[in-house]
Symmetry: C2
């Protein structure tokens, strides 16, 4: 059963980008050589670890104690924060999800990393997973 | 920064495969048409949702109250249980991880879904993520 959706990335909340760098290094990713980007809206600095099939690991380091990522780590400890699915028509999809009774955190897209238009779906409608939908080029 | 590792799948603990089927349906996956497989070793029935870039979502339904997935749901509720990275030489990689001081749940591979050789890495060495390493064909 396939959909034309792509798994874009897994967002991982980390105390800082160098946390567990030994583990990532043995797997083939040298964190010290990964470029980073600040996402002002979400108060995070992100580093992307690319994989061969283009589904990335996004290390999320908080830039403020008030960020969602800082609160997540404070409550649960570091770990998987969200998954991101790449979709074709985010406006149409959000409309369809809302019509189906799915609880949306963003009913209209906001700006995410790499200037993509993104929207989050509430975990109560997805089985406990914070799902980011993203439209745009990588 | 790229590695030749692939993100094979995200394992999602679900009460049953039909939980939140409306959400998956709007995204393009009809759960009722997805084939399932029992993984005896782990006491789960799995259903794979394929994506365009081959990184799958694996819905994990427990077949026993004693399974790791049943215990996970009982403790934390449904949600992301693990991520699986597809690797080329699992024996060599496990050896390198152990040498680097990474805590392994399986020091030698066991049999997972689709007869792949798999091994789990302990979340204490990965930043709170249960990481499955898998070698084999999909």
């Amino acid at each position: 059963m396939s959909s034309d959706i792509e798994l874009d990335h897994i967002g991982i909340a980390v105390p800082n980008h160098n946390s567990n760098s030994t583990f990532w290094k043995v797997l083939g990713w040298d964190i010290s050589k990964v470029s980073t980007e600040i996402v002002e809206d979400q108060k995070v600095k992100v580093a992307f670890l690319n994989t061969k099939n283009k589904a990335r690991l996004e290390l999320l380091e908080s830039t403020s104690d008030e960020s969602a990522v800082a609160k997540f780590i404070s409550k649960r400890g570091p770990g998987i924060h969200h998954i991101c699915l790449r979709v074709k028509n985010i406006d149409g999809l959000l409309k369809n999800l809302k019509s189906a009774g799915i609880k949306l955190i963003n009913e209209t897209p906001v700006l995410g990393a790499h200037q993509c238009r993104v929207a989050f779906v509430h975990p109560s409608s997805t089985g406990g997973i914070l799902v980011e939908l993203s439209e745009g080029t990588k």
